[in-house]
């Protein structure tokens, strides 16, 4: 996989919301001749992801396909398609991801338990997301694992997280539509670990604990653990805290 690589700015159009289902046909006929073609991600409603493909591939969470139109081949990728090293790393870190590669001509629709889907555009930067919140990525994006430290532990989903890197689009799921917050040097951001979904860009994160003797006495502020993001990038937060439906997400 992954020989051909993506257009950054010269792409025909960005994967914005578009009504035209047959766009891929146009692309296949015209643009693809001289522009390098990339799978087109777009949202159909807020809970279904439609991907227009012209012979290229996307990686998606296993079993997340709900419908397709055209010719598609689905191939389970052991270890997320990261090779033997990636497979071993994922097994060791517990940050497991069952991924399939979808390749073909046509439109393929993906959804995951009616969760809200958010599109992320990557232009060479890195997206950090929990493997269970990652729905689909352009096949040309590299995925890997990274250590999160105390943040991961406070969210209750392990010490490791998934990274997505390269040029292209990815789709992440959240419980309720995610709010995208910009972090810049003059505006650092503090996030509740339960509402954190993903972040991208050049961010430093630090773990803040407000545990005092009051917390132990049951009179805490209820927001004892927080993650502070500093630097330059985007943070995705969901309007829900991971303990209800998202408890296992």
């Amino acid at each position: 996989m992954g020989g051909r690589r993506p257009g950054g700015p010269e792409r025909a159009s960005k994967g914005a919301v578009r009504g035209d289902v047959h766009l891929w046909e146009l692309l296949a006929a015209g643009a693809c001749g001289y522009l390098r073609c990339v799978a087109m991600f777009r949202l159909q409603g807020s809970k279904v992801l439609a991907v227009d493909m012209t012979g290229d591939a996307v990686k998606a969470k296993n079993g997340s396909m709900v419908a397709y139109d055209g010719q598609m081949a689905f191939k389970k990728m052991s270890g997320g398609g990261e090779g033997l090293r990636g497979m071993v790393t994922r097994r060791l870190t517990g940050e497991q991801m069952t991924v399939m590669e979808v390749k073909g001509h046509g439109t393929c629709w993906f959804a995951d338990r009616a969760a809200e889907i958010n599109l992320v555009n990557l232009q060479g930067d890195k997206l950090y997301v929990e493997s269970s919140n990652l729905l689909a990525t352009d096949a040309g994006l590299r995925t890997g694992t990274s250590f999160t430290g105390l943040r991961g532990a406070s969210q209750g989903n392990g010490l490791f997280t998934t990274t997505v890197e390269g040029h292209g689009q990815a789709a992440i799921v959240s419980d309720g539509p995610a709010v995208v917050l910009r972090v810049s040097p003059q505006y650092p951001l503090t996030v509740d670990p339960g509402a954190y979904v993903a972040h991208q860009g050049n961010l430093r994160q630090s773990f803040q604990s407000g545990v005092t003797f009051r917390t132990l006495m049951g009179e805490g502020g209820g927001e004892a653990f927080q993650i502070r993001f500093e630097g330059d990038g985007l943070v995705y937060v969901q309007p829900s805290e991971r303990n209800t439906i998202a408890g296992e997400v």
């Binding site: 309720g176 860009g201 502020g221 805290e241």
Partner: protein
């Protein structure tokens, strides 16, 4: 179609992508999305239910209400001491996002008024409002002038009394219309009614019991009949004549005899001497 709220700014994020917010583009005391509310603090204070803050810019402090420094504030605007541990006071300056389990959130302005709301629905309020336990078990009353934020399962609909509403759809009421129970006696009485009640045959439509509101005011309904998890409002003093003080605290949909199974219309034996 997802609606973009606010305008995307420059830098990260691409045009056509999701709206990206920073402290200058976040609204002040308004909804960011139907599920997320932004509160602006300028050295002011807000009462919040624990764990409903999802993110903030600026510097803020969250203190449990038992905090000594906040005693005066609690005395003036918080009158249900027994569930104080579920609430925190946020103070500082910056912008803070509130959300509750991806339910719809909305803010309401009270001007020298009063509003009674189901305890599980209230998220946050300004200290210029006083929060009190309602006489109706499971409900809280806000009195005064100020803004509060409440969650609902589906958008909220405002209705004028006189109206009868489904108990599960009731979110609250403002300006004191009189709430009472209403039973569809035509359906429940008579030979057929008795048979239905005793045998469960013929079934119940599930709409034999409603809440009736009469008088001036507004009734707030949520657009589903799925209740939001109830928040404890604290016990009431065990005095005679205080509703909810005798038995264990029961839900808001309480009729004499407590919770009932579907198909069972009421204590008909007792009520009609059957």
């Amino acid at each position: 179609m997802s609606t973009p709220y606010g305008t995307p700014g420059p830098g990260y994020g691409t045009p056509g992508g999701p709206a990206v917010f920073d402290p200058t583009t976040l609204p002040a005391d308004d909804n960011v999305t139907p599920y997320t509310f932004c509160v602006e603090l300028k050295g002011s204070q807000w009462f919040l239910q624990k764990g409903k803050m999802i993110a903030y810019y600026g510097s803020m402090e969250f203190n449990g209400i038992g905090h000594g420094r906040l005693d005066r504030l609690v005395r003036t605007s918080f009158h249900s001491p027994l569930h104080a541990s579920d609430w925190v006071v946020a103070e500082g300056s910056g912008k803070m996002l509130l959300a509750d389990r991806a339910f719809d959130v909305n803010s309401y302005d009270l001007e020298d008024g009063n509003l009674t709301i189901r305890s599980g629905n209230l998220l946050a309020f300004q200290p210029s409002l006083a929060l009190k336990q309602s006489i109706v078990p499971g409900f809280l009353t806000l009195i005064g002038t100020g803004k509060f934020v409440a969650a609902s399962n589906g958008p909220v609909v405002f209705m004028e009394p006189p109206i009868r509403v489904d108990p599960q759809a009731l979110a609250g009421w403002a300006d004191c219309p009189s709430p009472c129970h209403h039973y569809d006696h035509g359906y429940m009485t008579g030979v057929m009614g008795g048979l239905r009640a005793l045998t469960g045959l013929g079934g119940a439509s599930g709409e034999e019991h409603q809440f009736e509101f009469v008088g001036a005011g507004t009734v707030l309904l949520q657009s589903t009949e799925t209740l939001m998890a109830e928040q404890a409002t604290g016990a009431v003093p065990p005095d005679a004549g205080v509703p909810g003080s005798g038995a264990a605290h029961t839900g808001p949909s309480q009729v004499a005899g407590g919770q009932r199974l579907p198909g069972q219309l009421g204590d008909l034996q007792r009520r009609f001497g059957l």
